[in-house]
Amino acid sequence: MAAEAPPQQTGWLVRLKAGLGRSSSRLADGIGAILTKRRLDDDALEALEELLITADLGVQPAAELTQALAKERFDKQVSPDAVRAALAGTIAAILEPVARPLALDAAHRPHVVLVVGVNGTGKTTTIGKLAKAWRDQGKSVMLAACDTFRAAAIEQLEAWGERAGCPVITRAPGADAAGLAFDALREAQARAADALIVDTAGRLHNKAELMAELEKIRRALNKIDPGAPHDCVLVLDATVGQNAHAQVETFGRMVDVTGLVVTKLDGTARGGVLVALAQRFGLPVFAVGVGEGVDDLRPFEARAFARALMGLEG
């Protein structure tokens, strides 16, 4: 998955829509019902705002979007499609600047990617998918199993390494994660790998001592290559609500996050909080996860995401 347009462009759109479609059709139906029944009056606007809230956009962004809409369309007879398109357009415009893939810089050997996030969001799985995508592009990729804490986390990453066809650097459970990161980077340099992806244990951002441990990993990588890690990816679960703000803020502050991956968009959660995150932090959304399979990672495409969210065709 990289800047080069992936071959399965139509494929991913279909998948994303299938995933988003299930939930956003409710949203779309809702809007349809509101607008066929009455004009875009106060009640209709309020209902529209509520529909955005149920997509996790957050109270304030939902209010702002509806107010913007009201300014344009208020008291005019508008079709449901026109309202949806207008909203999708506004949302797409907000997301457009953050839709940027994670590109490997050939100047780095390896390009080091540190993957962080709250427990269970999909870090290890995303690493497997990412490694596979890069392998498919002919890159040499190595993985570092720096989650030495969670039971069988190492075995899990090893299984993904096998699927993606890349070596996994490991140490015994309980080993020092920073030391392992250090060794892994040494080894990846020695092999002149294109990419080294570092898996880390899930941690809640409000636990200072665990966040300090992440900093330690950063420093260890830094010792070998002052530019490393070249990217730090924060993995967010699409089901997360407004707590995503605190996650992005704290991880961002502590470990210099360079971009996001949003997983589990194949569920009914719509990840609407991304809209507010884009406005507030402007961090790139590198990719989205749409399933548990090795190929279920897709580039984030603003217009498609916004339109799928509104239940509109491509």
Binding site: R22, S23, E50, I53, T54, A55, D56, G58, V59, V118, N119, G120, T121, G122, F149, R150, A151, A152, A153, E155, Q156, E158, A159, W160, P173, L204, H205, N206, K207, D237, T239, V240, G241, Q242, N243, A246, K264, D266, G267, T268, A269, R270, V273, E292
Partner: protein, 452 residues
């Protein structure tokens, strides 16, 4: 988890309290803010709307507008409804079944099922002295079965030996069979994460449920969940008939709206909460306490528990008997004051009492402190036995004598008598609730702080 919601609501209520009389518009404005606070805490919209409608109905009625303290009335209504929404009493894990009692753990991907299974296994083995067997039916996620095996080892809880080719239903049956043959009390079934809209996977879970007839089907859900909480909880409940919910990552700083949402849409109790990654980080859930904490009303139950630890059991029983007979006297009050001092004095208690900040200020103004408690003990000490039994005897000359004996003023004595009467009334009311009610509803004889 609930701190920020608490702060938000606190601000709303403070603004409300600054106004004396409340118009319906005032109440409506406050409720709009409550609505926003709840939504920002990730309580699901349909649940919020329902909640606001119920509160609104009661609040704009005569109940509030005509009451002497309208703002307090609104807070009380919100508190009542919040408690109702979270469910009244805390619910434990049900093991009432022919052994082995089967517990099925289900939920979305990554919600914490495997970790919670091991935590629960440890808890049942350690606290309830049960013989527990755990089995992983997760044949999808890489190293999932290995994860449970390792956790079982860490917890000292048996796990079903893993077979590479078996399907989930077959593993479940083998687990129950092993449970029966080897005399296990409880069999915990951990399952693969699944989306509630994945028909095939939901059918698989339903098949396991039907084949194993579990006493508990627990939805393991993430406290960080947003609006999707209602959708997923409803879907899991409809398909698998949940018996309860376990909320994980409560150690995070999410505002915990998911707890309210899931309980409200399914009616299933939240039975346990996960408060960390370690295996002992699993706790029972107390709805009433959480409701109070959300509203910044202090943890009254914890207060009572702390009191119960400090109070001599026999004393409490004796007191409860007396109260029921209406015979609470000055000796008892002295006992209460002593206990209060033992429990950390005024300051220590304040941290647990409702409306702390405000009360603390009032106390500072009223000069209530440790010394005051000591003086009160002294006043009671200089009463005769007969006087201590019968407050009605305390006429002017007796009061002067008592005051002189305790190095206090007659005013001090009067204040103490007033306080005694207030406590006695409260006690009589509490006495009607019976012994059990007394322990649950408040510390016997604890003078309401404001009455000093």
């Amino acid at each position: 988890m609930f701190e920020s919601l608490t702060n938000r609501l606190g601000e709303v209520f403070d603004r409300l309290k600054r106004r004396g009389a409340l118009s319906e518009a005032d109440v409506a404005a406050a409720l709009r803010e409550v609505r926003i606070a709840l939504l920002e805490a990730d309580v699901a919209l349909p649940v919020v709307k329902d909640f606001i409608a119920r509160v609104g109905e009661r609040a704009v009625g005569a109940e509030v507008v005509r009451s002497v303290t309208p703002a307090q009335m609104v807070v009380k209504i919100v508190h009542d409804e919040l408690t109702a929404m979270l469910g009244g009493d805390s619910a434990g894990i049900d093991l009432a079944a022919a052994p082995p009692a089967t517990i099925l753990m289900v939920g979305l991907q990554g919600s914490g099922k495997t970790t919670t299974t091991a935590k629960l296994g440890l808890r049942l083995a350690r606290n309830d002295k049960k013989k527990v067997l755990m089995a992983s039916l997760d044949v999808r996620r890489p190293a999932a079965q290995e994860q449970l095996r390792v956790l079982g080892e860490q917890a000292g809880v048996a796990t079903l030996p893993v077979s590479a080719i078996e399907q989930p239903l077959a593993i479940a049956k083998r687990a129950l069979e092993t449970g029966r043959l080897e005399g296990y009390d409880v069999v915990l079934l951990d399952t693969a994460g699944r989306l509630h809209i994945d028909d095939e996977m939901m059918a698989e879970a339903a098949a396991v449920r039907d084949a194993t007839d579990p006493v508990e089907v627990l939805l393991v859900a993430d406290a960080l969940t947003g609006q999707d909480a209602v959708t997923l909880a409803k879907a899991f409940d409809e398909r698998l008939r949940l018996t309860g919910i376990v909320l994980t990552r409560v150690d995070g700083d999410a505002r915990g709206g998911a707890a309210l949402s899931m309980r409200a849409v399914t009616g299933r109790p939240i039975k346990l909460i996960g408060v960390g990654e370690k295996l002992d980080a699993l706790e029972p859930f107390h709805p009433g306490r959480i409701a109070s904490r959300i509203l910044g009303m202090g943890d009254v139950v914890s207060l009572v528990e702390k009191a119960a630890e400090t109070i001599d059991r026999d004393d409490a029983e004796k007191l409860a008997r007396k109260i029921r007979k209406g015979g609470f006297d000055f000796d008892d009050l002295a006992g209460q004051i002593r206990q209060m001092r033992r429990m950390g004095g005024v300051e220590g208690l304040l941290g647990m009492l409702p409306g702390v900040a405000k009360v603390r200020k009032q106390l500072a103004e009223a000069n209530v402190d440790e010394r005051m408690l000591v003086r009160q003990e002294a006043i009671i000490g200089s009463m005769t036995r007969v006087e201590r039994r019968n407050a009605r005897l305390l006429n002017g000359s007796r009061k002067r004598r008592i005051a002189a004996g305790a190095g206090a003023t007659v005013q001090d004595v009067n204040r103490l008598i007033k306080q005694y009467k207030a406590v006695n009334n409260m006690m009589k009311r509490a006495g009607k609730l019976g012994k059990k009610g007394l322990m649950r509803h408040g510390l016997p004889g604890m003078p309401p702080v404001g009455s000093f």
